[in-house]
Amino acid sequence: MTKPLLSVNNLVVTYGARKHAVQAVAGVSFEIFEGETLGLVGESGCGKSTTGRAILQLEKVTSGSVTFDGEELTSLSPGEMRTRRRKLQMLFQDPISSLNPRRKIKHIVAEPLIIWKEGDDESRSHLVDQMLLEVGIDPHLAGERYPREFSGGQCQRISIARSLVANPRLLVCDEMVSALDVSVQAQIINLLSDLKVKHNLTLLFIAHDLAVVKNVSDRVAVMYLGRLCELGPSDDLYAHPLHPYTAALLSAAVVPDPTVGLSHHTLEGEPPSPINPPSGCRFRTRCPKAEARCAEEVPELREVRPGHQVACHFPLEAVPVSIQS
C-alpha cells in the first residue's frame, strides 16, 4: 500500500471559550493515502467543514496533529504555513462568490502563480490557457470576462483551474457540487475524476449527499457530532454498514427508482447540541441499539474488518468477508 499523504490524529477544534465552548471536532483520526479520495459525510453541523479547514490550518487546532507529507502542520508559523499552502487547496460550494468579482478570469486563474512568483508573464499566461482548456473553458472566449458572466457550473470549473494551476497535491472539496443541477454535477464529478488521475491528486471530498460521496470516494468516513462513527471502503461501507448511524443515514437516502421503495427505519429527531454532547457514545440519544454501557464508555474507532473501522460497542452484524461480492 502507498503511504499516507495526510494523517490526522486526535484532532480537536473548539469554537468559543469557557462556558460557551463548543467542540466542533472532538478527537478525529484518519489517514488519506497518496492518490486516494476519502469521502466525509454526516448531517449538517457535525463538523465536516471544520475538519477540512483545520487540515489547512484555516481554523485554530485546539489539540491533536495534522501531518502532511511527513511534516507536522499544527506547529508551523503562519508564514511557514503559507508556503506549504500551495500544496493543499480548498474548493467550496459557492464558486461564484469564491471568485473575485472584479478580476478577469485569466487573472483569477493566474493569481496563485503570481503569489508564488512562478514563471514570467508569458509562461504564466500559457499555463493559465492550458489549465482553462483542461477544465473545459475556452481561454480565448473566457479569459477577458468576469465571474458574473458565467454559470455556477462554469465558475466551479474556473475554481478548479485556479486551484490546480499551482500544482497542489491535496484538494479539500467542501460541498463543491452540492449547489449544481444533476446534469452539471455529473460534468464536474467526471472532470474531477479525470483531473485527479492526470495530476495525481489526493482528495478529501466533503458532502452531505451520500450518493455523490459514494460515487467519488475510495473510502468513506461518517461523522456525527464531532466524531467519526465509521470509516471503510466505499462499497463495503454502503453495502454492510457497521454503525447504527451509518445504517440510519443510508436508509433515509432515496433511489431514483419507484420499485425500490422507502425504508421505514428512518431516524427520529435531530442531532443534539454540540455544546452539551451526550456522555459516552454521542449517538446514543437517537440509537435504536443503545444500552447502559453506551452512556458510560466512549466507543473508540477500531478495525473490525480489514480496512473497515467502527466506533460502536455493539456494531451491526458484520457480513463475513468471504461472502461479499
Binding site: V182, S183, Q185, A186, D218, Y238, P256, D257, P258, V260
Partner: protein, 340 residues
C-alpha cells in the same frame, strides 16, 4: 354526500411571460395538465426550467408587475389566471396551501412561530385568540415538534431548518386545505430530516385526501413520493407519466439524461456518470424546434426545425412525451395534445 369526482386543478394552454430588459421571457410555455383529487404530481427539471413559475402561476402567486399570462388555470372550478390577488386571498387561506424551500423567508423573523400560526387561524377560520393559540400548539404537535408549548414561543431563527419547515407545514395545513403546492420543501435539508418532512407530508395527505404538486430537482424524491411526474424543460412539459411508467420506460432523451447523470446510492463506487453536455437555452431567445436539440445526441434536422408537441404514447395513454425520436419503443398515438 356524493364524492366530487371532478379534477381539482385544470390547467389549459397556460403561458407566463415576464417582461425583462432583454425582451420577453417565456418562463411557462403552453402547459396543460389536470390534477385528480387526492393525487400528487412531481415537477422536475433543471434550475430555470420553469417549475416554480408554473406552480406559482397555477395558484396565482406571481408578481403582478411585468407579467403577462395566456390560457387558463382553475382550482375547484374557480379561474385563477387574471384574478386579482385581493380576490385570491380567500382561496389561498382556505383551499390552497404552499410550502417553499426556504422557510426563513416565509416566516416573519421578529414574531414567535406560535403567533404566526395563530394569526392565520384567526384570519381564515375566524377563531378567537384563545382558541387559535390552543389550535396552533395542537398543530405543532401534529407536525411532530417536541414540546410544542415551549416551541410555540420560539422565534424562527431559534429553530433548525427541519423544525422551521415543520412550522411552515403547520401553517400550510392550519386551515384544512385541499391542494398543497410544495416547492423544493426539503432542498438543503439533511437526508434524515428530508425523510421526516416528506413522511409528515405523506401522512397528512393520506388523512385528508390532499392533492399535491411537489416541485423538486431530486429524482429520488419524485420516484418515492409522487403518483405522477411532469418533466419540464425550457418552460414546457416535455414528458409526463405515472411515476412507475416514467421510470420503467422513459420516452424523452432529456429525462433519460437527467436519470443517467444522477449518482445512485445502489450503484458501485466510481460508476462513470453520463452527463448532459451544455446548458439549457436562453428563454429570451429559445431555439426553433425542440429546445433540447442543441444538447441531444439523437437530434436530427427535423428536431431543429419542427417543435415536437406533447403526445400520448401507444404504450400507455397516460404517458405523454414531446419528442420526434422517442426511446424504449414509445410511439405517438395521436398528434393531439393532452386535454383536447
Amino acid at each position: 354526500m356524493a364524492i366530487d369526482q371532478s379534477p381539482i386543478v385544470v390547467v389549459d394552454h397556460l403561458s407566463t411571460t415576464f417582461r425583462t430588459p432583454r425582451g420577453p421571457l417565456k418562463a411557462v410555455n403552453d402547459v396543460s395538465l389536470t390534477l385528480e383529487r387526492g393525487s400528487s404530481l412531481g415537477i422536475v427539471g433543471e434550475s430555470g426550467s420553469g417549475k416554480t413559475v408554473l406552480s406559482r402561476s397555477i395558484i396565482g402567486l406571481l408578481p403582478t408587475q411585468n407579467v403577462t399570462q395566456t390560457g387558463t388555470a382553475t382550482i375547484n372550478g374557480s379561474e385563477i389566471i387574471g384574478t386579482r390577488h385581493k380576490d385570491l386571498l380567500k382561496i389561498w387561506g382556505s383551499e390552497v396551501a404552499m410550502v417553499f424551500q426556504d422557510p426563513m423567508t416565509a416566516l416573519t423573523p421578529t414574531r414567535r412561530v406560535g403567533q404566526q400560526i395563530a394569526e392565520s387561524l384567526r384570519i381564515n377560520l375566524k377563531l378567537s385568540r384563545k382558541d387559535a393559540n390552543l389550535r396552533a400548539i395542537e398543530l405543532l404537535r401534529q407536525v411532530g415538534i417536541p414540546s410544542p408549548e415551549r416551541r410555540a414561543r420560539a422565534y424562527p431563527n431559534q429553530l433548525s431548518g427541519g423544525m422551521r419547515q415543520r412550522v411552515m407545514i403547520a401553517i400550510a395545513i392550519a386551515c384544512g386545505p385541499e391542494f398543497l403546492v410544495a416547492d423544493e420543501p426539503t432542498t438543503g435539508l439533511d437526508v434524515t430530516v428530508q425523510a421526516q418532512v416528506l413522511d409528515l407530508i405523506t401522512e397528512l395527505r393520506a388523512k385528508s385526501n390532499l392533492t399535491m404538486i411537489l416541485v423538486t430537482h431530486d429524482l429520488g424524491v419524485v420516484a418515492t413520493r409522487t403518483d405522477n411526474v411532469a418533466v419540464m424543460y425550457a418552460g414546457r412539459i416535455v414528458e409526463q407519466a405515472p411515476t412507475a411508467s416514467l421510470f420503467a420506460r422513459v420516452a424523452m432523451p432529456y429525462t433519460k439524461g437527467l436519470l443517467d447523470s444522477t449518482p445512485r446510492i445502489d450503484a458501485p463506487s466510481h460508476t462513470r456518470l453520463s452527463s448532459i453536455e451544455g446548458r439549457p437555452p436562453d428563454l429570451v431567445n429559445p431555439p426553433e424546434g425542440c429546445a433540447f436539440a442543441p444538447r441531444c445526441t439523437y437530434a436530427t434536422d427535423e428536431c431543429r426545425t419542427v417543435r415536437p408537441e406533447l403526445v400520448r404514447s401507444t404504450l400507455d395513454a397516460n404517458h405523454l412525451f414531446a419528442c420526434h425520436h422517442p426511446l424504449n419503443g414509445h410511439q405517438a398515438s395521436s398528434s393531439l395534445t393532452e386535454n383536447k
